[in-house]
């Protein structure tokens, strides 16, 4: 008998070992997980160490943080909530067999509310990036994916990110994709809220606007908006994740991973998405992924071949970032001033800042030299006896005087674009030429008038021009100072001087107030330095004129 039993055991082992292994399905794993959790109810309901999944099953209710106004995704009218995320939340409640209690969250509160245990789960348009990975536990697979889309009038010839250099794009402060737009040579116009962007497109304040495609999705359901505007291109894709707290939610997270996986495989996300007219591309793609046998397993949501990685949004800190942070804290502790120095804390920002300072100094030196050069040239022409020189010079001066500096800069940039490939030196050159011509023509007029007044006094000969320059020294100095003061306006054509670079830095970091205060102080001090230098030049010119 014993021999027979041993033989039976050997045969059974051989059969089991030889049979192909079948991986556990997500459905079975979820059923097991929920069954095990239910077995802990009510025994562990009062235990503080109980997982959130058990506590949810104890109270038969899950608290889900959701947005109140994010068109197509989560909206609220009185007590009625609707949208893609709302329906996903309801489906999760049904899957777990519990009621859903919605809690209002926004971009600022969704993470803290999880940490404070005021919600169990957040489904609130939250992009999954490496920085947030440290704060919350994201549910994978992701339930949606957005990308930054660039929207503009249909007739505007913009087809890719390569068409952006020199163009102004309206964006919201802190948008993760701003750094990429900056790196492509676009100029940014910053807004605090995305909600104003469609209106700014309509009133033509913005020729282009960049924002999540999920944000613009609602507007493209409006026939009028769709007739006038189009999505030019998309970039910077970000997967959206539901999230639970990092502490005490491991079983809940595991259950939701499986739920999300099942929803993708069975096409529930696609169906809900279609119901709310959101973009379905990602959801259809994901359905194919989760139908694959290799991914349709209980462990599929941990397989890098099936799940998407988070967006790597971390910027490399500078070697002295800790010291900068210490200084910020010290200033705040001593004075209560919330000092923030983003330009010193990350490598890209620090690099932009250094370049900005260097280009600003080049721009100022160039603008001063160009102003002086054009002043002498146009002054000599306007003071000439021959009308062939005098009248063209006067016409140029009158034209430049009639053109606002912004327009002169744009004309210089347009000509530079037509003649050369757009590079930083070309933009700086265009700005220097525009500033030099505008201010030099005015100073040149003063020199020309001084030449004529000296002739009227009977002065002539070789020293006439030199004396005229001395006589016009006050005007020359005034316009040199004006040229130095005007250099920040070069940012309008995309010249990467300090105003331009700091605007770029603040578009992807915090500390706008401090940054622009530093900028104002920097330029004021530089201009005061120029005033002092010009004062010395003026005294030298006056002494030279007074000398016999």
């Amino acid at each position: 008998m014993t021999r027979l039993l041993r033989l039976a055991a050997v045969i059974l082992f051989a059969v089991l070992a030889g049979a192909p292994l079948r991986a556990e399905t997500p459905d079975a794993a979820l059923a097991t997980l929920l069954a095990e959790a239910r077995m802990k109810v009510p025994a562990e309901c009062e235990q503080p160490s109980a997982d959130r999944l058990v506590r949810i099953l104890c109270v038969k209710r899950i608290r889900i943080g959701i947005r109140d106004y994010y068109p197509l995704f989560a909206e609220r009218r009185d007590e009625q909530r609707f949208g893609y995320e709302v329906d996903v939340a309801e489906a999760i409640g049904r899957m777990l067999g519990v009621a859903v209690e919605f809690v209002r969250v926004n971009a600022a509160t969704r993470v803290p509310l999880l940490a404070e245990d005021r919600v169990d789960l957040v489904i609130a348009t939250m992009g999954h990036n490496t920085q947030r990975d440290r704060q919350v536990r994201f549910i994978r697979p992701h339930y949606y994916r957005s990308e930054t889309t660039v929207v503009g009038p249909r007739e505007l010839p913009v087809a890719s990110i390569l068409d952006l250099p020199g163009r102004t794009i309206c964006v919201t402060v802190g948008n993760g994709s701003n750094a990429e737009l900056v790196s492509q040579g676009a100029r940014l116009m910053l807004f605090d809220e995305a909600g104003v962007l469609p209106d700014r497109l309509k009133d033509r304040t913005c020729a282009l606007a960049a924002q999540d495609d999920s944000f613009f999705a609602k507007y493209f359901t409006e026939p009028d908006f769709r007739a006038r505007y189009s999505q030019k291109f998309g970039f910077a894709q970000v997967p959206w994740g539901m999230a639970v707290a990092r502490q005490g939610s491991s079983e809940l997270a595991r259950a939701l991973d499986l739920v999300s996986q099942i929803f993708h495989r069975d096409g529930l996300f696609v169906d809900i998405g279609r119901l709310h007219s959101i973009g379905l591309g990602f959801l259809v793609e994901q359905q194919q992924v989760w139908r694959r046998p290799a991914c349709n397993t209980a462990e599929g949501n941990r397989d890098p071949a099936c799940v998407l990685p988070p967006l790597n949004a971390a910027l490399q800190p500078t070697s002295f970032a800790p010291q900068v942070a210490a200084v910020e804290d010290w200033v705040e502790a001593k004075s209560g001033v919330d000092l923030q120095l983003p330009m010193l804390k990350t490598v890209p920002a620090w690099s932009l800042f250094q370049d900005g300072v260097a280009y600003t100094l080049v721009l100022i030196a160039g603008a001063l030299a160009a102003t002086l050069g054009f002043a002498l040239l146009l002054g000599a022409a306007m003071g000439a006896r021959t009308p062939l020189l005098r009248w063209p010079a006067r016409l140029v001066t009158m034209t430049l005087q009639s053109s606002p500096i912004v327009l002169t800069l744009v004309i210089a940039a347009a000509i530079a674009h037509g003649l050369f490939v757009v590079t930083t030196p070309v933009l700086l050159g265009a700005a220097i030429a525009a500033l030099g011509l505008t201010n030099g023509s005015n100073a040149g007029q003063a020199i020309g008038e001084a030449m004529w007044s000296l002739r009227a006094e009977g002065v002539s000969g070789a020293g006439l021009f030199g004396r005229a320059v001395g006589r016009a020294s006050t005007q020359i100095v005034a316009f040199l100072v004006n040229a130095a003061k005007g250099t920040p306006i070069a940012s309008f054509i995309g010249a990467p001087e300090l105003l331009s670079t700091l605007t770029d830095i603040t578009s992807f970091s915090s500390g706008r107030a401090t940054t622009y205060t530093i900028l104002l102080v920097f330029y004021t001090v530089v201009v005061m330095g120029v005033v002092w230098l010009c004062g010395r030049l003026q005294r030298w010119l006056e002494r030279r004129t007074a000398a016999p």
Binding site: L156, T205, V481, G486, T503, A513, T517, L520, T524
Partner: protein, 212 residues
């Protein structure tokens, strides 16, 4: 040229004139505030002593502050929830541009008013009257400078031109449009400067006649 005319929006001229009206409005606001501040600074400098030194320092600072940077400072450094006398104090785009021009206008008016007050003290009324053409010149400089509003989306005249230019694919057409803008800006400006020159010459003649 005819291609350009066809390429322009039907309401371009109306929008341009509306934009220009905004340029004048911004300049007027900046000048009014500048007049009030400038006179106080001129009186301070005339008084001498501590008030004089403080006024001079303030004028030097205001002369050195670049308008464009001041505009971005006002736009970004002021908290969105700022209050003034307990009321919300959010600057509109127009007010942001106008206030950014105030340091220039106050410093300019301060200098011109100081000259005028000194002339008045010396009994040369006609010399003091030069204050009026000087302020008029400052007004037109402010009109031109208000085009900086284009950088923050204020729909002034240059903004209208630049938006129109976005729809013109040919560089030549865009340059013609820009030229048109210069002409439209230049006419009132050159007329104003010619008038100012005529007034100044007349004042100078009257002053010279009185002196004889």
């Amino acid at each position: 040229m005819s291609d350009l005319v066809h390429g322009l929006s039907g309401d371009f001229l109306a929008r341009f004139l509306g934009g220009m009206a905004l340029n004048f409005e911004i300049a007027a606001i900046a000048l009014l505030i500048g007049l009030a501040l400038g006179f106080v600074l001129a009186l301070g400098r005339l008084a001498g002593g501590v008030a004089g030194a403080a006024s001079l320092s303030l004028v030097s600072l205001m002369r050195a502050a670049p308008t464009f940077v001041v505009m971005f400072f006002l736009l970004n450094a002021l908290p969105r929830d700022a209050t003034l006398f307990g009321r919300p104090f959010a600057l509109s785009g127009v007010m942001t541009v106008a206030l950014s021009l105030v340091p220039y206008s106050a410093a300019y008016v301060g200098d011109a008013a100081l000259d005028a007050l000194r002339h008045l003290r010396a009994g040369t009324t006609h010399g003091a009257l030069l204050f009026l053409p000087n302020v008029t010149r400052a007004f037109f400089v402010l009109v031109m400078s208000s085009s900086a509003g284009a950088a923050i989306g204020v729909t002034e005249a240059i903004t209208v031109i630049l938006r129109e230019a976005e729809h013109l694919p040919e560089l030549g057409d865009r340059l013609v449009l820009f030229g048109l803008g210069i002409v439209l800006f230049g006419i009132p400006l050159q007329v104003a400067f010619a008038l100012i020159g005529a007034i100044q010459r007349r004042v100078a003649r009257v002053t010279a006649a009185r002196a004889m």
